[in-house]
Subunit: 107 residues, 2 copies
């Protein structure tokens, strides 16, 4: 039995990488956020109400947070898991600590 949906070896310094499906999902999410930002700029140029602009920017921020959560989950399930299994857990945790410290400081 093969498992072709496992991790990818790419530019990442870790020994594993998030699955292709997740990378596609993340890219689509980021593209949607980009489009959303363009729409907000259009709203601003047309003088839409500040309340509406704030609501839309809150949605942009929420979508960014959701993307980070998805990336984090995928990272834990592939990269970190593989690192731990191959005795490189310490390295994975150091990288994770740096990224999560930045993230959590900016709630």
């Amino acid at each position: 039995m093969t498992n072709k949906t496992a991790t990818k070896q790419l530019k990442s310094t870790s020994s594993a990488y998030v699955a292709k499906d997740l990378r596609t999902d993340l890219d689509h999410r980021l593209a949607r956020i980009e489009g959303h930002l363009r729409a907000v700029r259009q709203m601003l140029s047309e003088g839409e109400s500040c309340d509406d602009l704030m609501t839309q920017l809150a949605a942009v921020r929420a979508a960014t947070t959701q993307t980070i959560v998805k990336l984090f989950e995928g990272h834990m399930e592939s990269c970190v898991k593989t690192c731990v299994q191959t005795g490189k857990g310490q390295d994975a945790l150091v990288g994770l600590k740096g990224a999560l410290s930045t993230l959590l400081r900016q709630v």
Copy 2:
């Protein structure tokens, strides 16, 4: 003595709008965030580490929050202030409540 840097009358349903300088500043901020997102998508396609991707997305989220803060401050200083001065404070507060409820729910 004239005050030409005051508020603008635009599509907004409120009787005032954020000053042109601030609108330009907000647009530049949003354009930078768009560019940042494009760069993150590039990083993802090149297989950069998840830790780096998370750090960059945290920066995108922080920049979005800062843009919301700027918009909020401008809105309070022009639109809400003018509404209160012209006896439309109640309307301004209803709109503000809606936008801020959405925003604060998503911390």
